[in-house]
């Protein structure tokens, strides 16, 4: 048994290359859940160009993060047990073969203070939890390359 979830900061779903890639990925990897950041498109438009062709339903849409930025969460139907929506993350809980597990998609704010709220709010991992996302922060200098001043 394998469950996969996908996360991408797409920065606009308008590009046909992105739509093509998403459709091929969805067909290839049998994804359970996808998180899209900054689609820059209304859901109805995105449904017509992309989600109509794949069996994915909108689970949650996080409120505006930075002016126009948004986090969308789509999942295969009939599996989702519980959804938790915050302005910086969406957490989805599944129940499969009597086993409970969760995926959380994070889009961390750029500001230091807002990120403190994220660290505070996202800390209740009692069952299997996989957190994937764009945290907008690195762990150490090993995560950086380039940018000579």
């Amino acid at each position: 048994m394998k469950v996969s979830s996908f996360f991408w900061n797409v920065r606009g779903l308008g590009n046909y290359k992105i739509v093509e890639m998403l459709i091929s990925l969805l067909k290839l990897h049998k994804l359970v859940l996808i998180f899209l950041v900054k689609p820059m498109m209304s859901y109805t438009d995105a449904f017509n160009v992309l989600f109509k062709f794949v069996n994915m339903h909108l689970v949650a849409m996080s409120p505006t993060v930075n002016k126009a930025a948004k986090l969308w969460c789509l999942s295969v139907p009939n599996l989702v047990q519980n959804v938790l929506v915050n302005d910086q993350f969406i957490s989805v809980t599944y129940l499969l073969h009597d086993k409970c597990f969760s995926f959380a998609g994070v889009y961390g704010s750029n500001t230091y203070l807002a990120k403190l709220f994220l660290w505070r709010d996202l800390s209740f991992f009692t069952w299997p939890w996989c957190i994937l996302g764009d945290f907008n922060v690195v762990l150490s200098v090993d995560d950086c390359k380039g940018g000579d001043s």
Binding site: K2, S5, W8, N9, K99, S123, C130, V137, C144, G146
Partner: protein, 164 residues
């Protein structure tokens, strides 16, 4: 337990305070970054030459319970496409291979009278067809009935011995 390396590296250094906050959060919640395949960096400002910056902003983290319950937790970073962030896929997998044991007849079953009765009843049931088909069908049916009988009424011998 994760710890970060801080050395003076030529170029832009990230904000150490916010990095430490992130690190604290990872360590207090017992999270771990998993092995990734392909690129280490997953963000790039699409600029040429010396101005090009790579960062690892996207991550997949798993808590301890997740690593215990699932056999493999992996994440995969795809090649860059259109957006300056690379797409990532995180997978949880469990090996669900169940061993199917061969059927074998235990001679101690013959000591049970219900077993002999079962064999007689099973064999007396009529099957229509050519002789080889009849034999094959009867053996097949007999095996299934005997297996069910062993499971339901005879029970596990090892457990019975332990109970006594």
């Amino acid at each position: 337990m994760l710890c970060s390396r801080w050395m003076t590296v030529k170029g832009v250094t990230p904000n150490q305070v916010s990095c430490n906050e992130f690190l604290d959060w990872i360590n207090t919640n017992d999270l771990s970054c998993m092995h990734f395949t392909r690129s280490c960096y997953n963000w790039c400002n699409v600029r040429k030459g010396l101005h090009r910056i790579h960062r690892r902003l996207n991550r997949a983290l798993y808590n301890g319970v997740c690593l215990d319950e699932w056999d493999s937790c992996t994440y995969h970073v795809f090649v860059k496409n259109c957006s300056d962030h690379y797409p990532i896929i995180s997978s949880l997998a469990r090996n669900s291979l169940r061993k199917v044991s061969n059927f074998c007849f235990f001679s101690l079953w013959l000591q049970d009278t219900s077993c002999l009765k079962l064999i007689h009843d099973s064999w007396d049931n009529k099957v229509v067809g050519c002789p080889t088909f009849i034999l094959q069908h009867k053996l097949k049916r007999f095996k299934i009935e005997l297996r069910d009988w062993n499971k339901n009424s005879f029970g596990n011998v090892h457990n019975a011995v332990l109970l006594k």
